[in-house]
């Protein structure tokens, strides 16, 4: 076990063991995390909502459960939830003005499962408005800073979740990933982020951006932590018709086989995801990481081609905005959230509510999606994009007949300067080039640390076939155990 001076610096798995042995209490651990928040939050600004009193109260309850012997590996562990997941009685804003004072009367299934497991929720994490963005700069409330370099973005859209875990302001977080929104900020902030197979984690209570792509997943300090979180939040949910029925009464312990190594695993490197457009330090670090897999006994094919993945981003920017344009139609100021209160007709009220309530990136995507679905354009855009989606799925299915894991960088670049890409949406969209294909295909992928450059972390991106989370976590864990990158912590 790694020596730590402060409790908040521990990984979840370390803390879990100490809690079980009653060497520490959840109140002590939670207090340490709160103290850390008080120390660094003004610099990181990862939170949209913090409730210290409730956190301590939950920690006390967790301690009671532990004393009573009725606990799980996550009982008493403090963490945060991305602010697009509903929790009864807790403000849920999606980092949007349009939901500024929205307090849902229901709790997302994934969050409920965490609460049932005894996890302690400290607050809600900042994000790009409605999860649309790759830098968390699209939050209507404030930007979040990368703990490794406060001038840099933490990535997005789950930038708050990743920055908080990286900065020690929480031991874990839940994020959501539509095109890379967990993995890209995890890479930028030097933590582990995973997007599970579509349907593995219930979306009930997750405020939709693009329903066919959105998936809740863990943000953790380590691969083991991510597996522990996935154990809790995964599973069939009758409230979400797209959650996988095959998981009913069929729980997997993702930690059980995590240490069985990669010997004999077949790993493929997707060549389309490397090249000039990937920064050299990223290219180098990922290449070295692949060699590391060879050293650990995996066989590597360095030249795997999935030609359609090149079109994943184009398809994504049709499909996601199309669904978003429909998903966001409900925010009209009539029922909840921000409502324009000027003089005017019902239609003027709705127009002004949306005009003022939504930020510019959200509006841009609503326009895009509305256009793509319009009569006369549907076939050329939405339908074409669906065809590309089918093509990409098929290519992945074919590839996973030959390989266990496919490798790419998580992001083509290092974390960039705050404000450097806000005026160039296309440049911003490119951040998700490597992560989008997994969402399009509905398959799992994980990002973990594989190097540093200029003091900034670099992410290794492993992609698996549908429901191959165990294998994916095993590969990631093997790499993590064989390297030291994950032991570095940012100095804030």
């Amino acid at each position: 076990m790694k020596k730590t001076d402060e409790l908040y610096e521990m990984t979840m798995s370390e803390a879990s063991l100490m809690l079980a042995k009653k060497e520490i209490s959840s109140v002590e651990l939670t207090s340490s995390v709160i103290a850390r928040i008080e120390q660094v939050e003004s610099k990181v600004k990862g939170f949209l909502y913090i409730n210290k009193e409730d956190a301590i109260q939950s920690a006390e309850n967790a301690d009671k459960r532990i004393r009573a012997g009725d606990f799980t590996p996550m009982t008493g562990i403090p963490g945060v939830i991305k602010d697009n997941m509903c929790i009864t009685g807790v403000p849920t804003t999606c980092a949007s003005k349009i939901l500024e004072n929205f307090v849902p009367p229901y709790t997302a299934t994934a969050v409920q499962k965490l609460l049932d497991s005894g996890a302690v929720l400290i607050g809600k994490a900042n994000m790009d408005e409605f999860a649309m963005g790759s830098s968390t700069e699209n939050s209507a409330f404030h930007v979040t800073h990368n703990p490794w370099n406060l001038q840099k973005v933490p990535g997005g859209s789950s930038g708050g979740s990743a920055a908080i875990v990286s900065a020690g302001e929480g031991l874990f977080a839940l994020g959501s990933d539509t095109g890379g929104s967990i993995r890209q900020p995890a890479a930028f902030c030097g933590v582990v982020g995973m997007k599970p197979t579509y349907g593995l984690v219930s979306r009930y209570g997750l405020i939709a951006f693009a329903s066919s792509l959105d998936q809740i997943g863990p943000v953790g300090k380590s691969v083991m932590d991510s597996a522990m979180i996935l154990n809790v939040v995964s599973g069939y949910d009758p409230m979400d018709s797209t959650s996988l029925r095959s998981l009913e009464n069929n729980a997997t312990d993702y930690t059980a086989t995590i240490d069985q190594g990669v010997s004999g695993m077949k790993i493929g490197v997707i060549k389309e995801m490397f090249g000039d457009w990937v920064d050299a330090p990223v290219n180098d670090a990922v290449t070295k990481a692949v060699s590391q897999f060879e050293d650990m006994g995996a066989t590597v094919d360095w030249d795997v081609s999935l030609p359609s993945t090149k079109y994943a981003m184009s398809a994504y920017y049709i499909l996601a905005p199309s669904e978003a344009s429909s998903n966001l139609a409900r925010y009209d100021g009539v029922k909840y959230g921000y409502s324009w209160d000027g003089e005017g007709s019902m239609w003027e009220g709705m127009e002004n509510t949306r005009g003022i309530g939504f930020g510019s990136e959200v509006k841009r995507r609503i326009f895009l999606g509305t256009y793509a679905l319009s009569a006369g354009y549907y076939d050329a855009y939405y339908k074409k994009a669906q065809e590309v989606r089918t093509l990409i799925k098929t290519e992945f299915e074919e590839a996973f007949k030959k390989f266990d894991i496919l490798v790419t960088p998580t992001t083509p670049s290092l974390p960039f300067e705050l404000g450097s890409k806000t005026s160039d949406p296309l440049e911003m969209y490119r951040s998700d080039m490597c992560t989008i294909p997994a969402n399009i295909a509905g398959i799992p992928a994980i990002s973990l640390q594989c190097g540093f450059s200029e003091g900034l972390p670099i992410g290794l991106h492993l992609i698996g076939g549908a429901l191959s989370e165990e294998k994916l976590l095993r590969a990631a864990y093997s790499f993590e155990q064989a390297t030291e990158w994950h032991n570095r912590v940012p100095q804030i």
């Binding site: 997941m85 229901y106 209570g205 939709a208 409230m239 018709s241 344009s325 019902m346 679905l373």
Partner: protein, 495 residues
Amino acid sequence: MTSTAKLEPVIGLEVHVQLLTNSKMFCSCKAAYTGAEPNTHVCPVCLGMPGTLPVINKKAIELTVMTALALNCSIATNSKFDRKNYPYPDLMKGYQISQFDLPITNKGWLSIEPENSGPREIGITRVHLEEDTARLIHRIDVTGDTYSLVDINRSGVPLMEIVGEPDLKSAEEARLYLTKLHTILQYLGVSTGNMDEGSFRCDANISLREKGDPLPNWKVEIKNMNSFRAVFRALEFEIERQTNLFKNNESIVQETRGWSEETGQTVSQRTKEYAHDYRYFPEPDLPPLFVEKKWVQSIESNLPELPDARRDRFIQEYNLPAYDASILTSGIETANYFEEAISGTNLKNGRLSDRAKTTANWIIGDLAHLLNNSGANIEESPIKPDHLCELLDLMDEGKISVRMAKEIFEEMYTDAKKPSLIVKERGLLQINDEEQLKSMVLEIINANPKAVEDYKKGKSNAVGFLVGQLMKETKGQANPKTANGLVKSALDQVG
């Protein structure tokens, strides 16, 4: 000037039916909201709150499949739900979950029997499933400003849409189609079919063409018709309006018109500022709908007897005239009433078919008349089928006469009493005792020498007069047949 002699209306009906499920289409709220306080049958899902997701109500699929089978439609093994996007405050999510290009069922037909042309099959384009919207209630405040209230109880109630082919040629055919469809739904038990409460709604598309021409490429949509009669009247009005436009060589605009019950006219509804583009796309929150063939087969084998089959059976089994059978089976309650009234009989004299015809006569005649006068449905009838049966048994046994039965029937209707009880209370039993009647007959003959004279002269109505006197004497309780025989034989003896 165009000749209008060869003009023919082209009419297609779209019917929306709320399904009789326990819960709503995509959540567990109670679907039956009639009489409920506004906004009490709601939950995060049917309120369309952020992050909530729909879950398909299997019962709604089953009822739709039932309906489709009854309408001779084919059932699609693979179908899907789509989002129909349009902003309106009655739409909680800003889109309605409906079915666009792959509905659950396709292509069927329903037969109607117009008096002038004989039976015709009217095509059904499709039957699909969607969710109902919330209800807007428009009000005017004290200052005269208008405002609207939203009642979300209706939001998410399962709504089945039955789209008919433009095969109907008159307002009367449209009425027959609607009535038939309504009856079928009632037999299936899939909907209350209540038009006043909006659980059965009809929109009509109508255009005119010259006989033999292809379908016109325009149509006028008529909305806001809240009864079968309104549909009939609106179509009659619209046919005349369009015919006049034709006559004067004026063009007919494709538009939506609202029916006004007060003025008896259709009125052009304010044209939308922009044409509706619903931007349909597959509902990503629901996986494609797979309807197993086996399940469809089991639904089919459990389909209840439908109106046409029941009518044919009534003709076969009870030897009823087609007219009676049609009327009796045009509503499931009436058909059930008839069969209940007939099943309990202790028929001693006569044949079942005769009793069936008598029962039909009483239901179609006297009972319908009384119900009509008090504006009641047959299921609200104070006279229950077993009581009618008992009454007819009393007649059959000769205990009461037809005239007595009619009197008793009226009392049964007002007091909801068993006929045997009324007979007992009023001492109304028919006098069949010949000895008792004979002495009375002799007294009457003695008291009416003129009638006896007339009889001798061959005036046969003298018998009737004397029987009438006997009936008067017995307060109508004498068995008319017996009385008639006794009077005749007494007269012959006197003569």
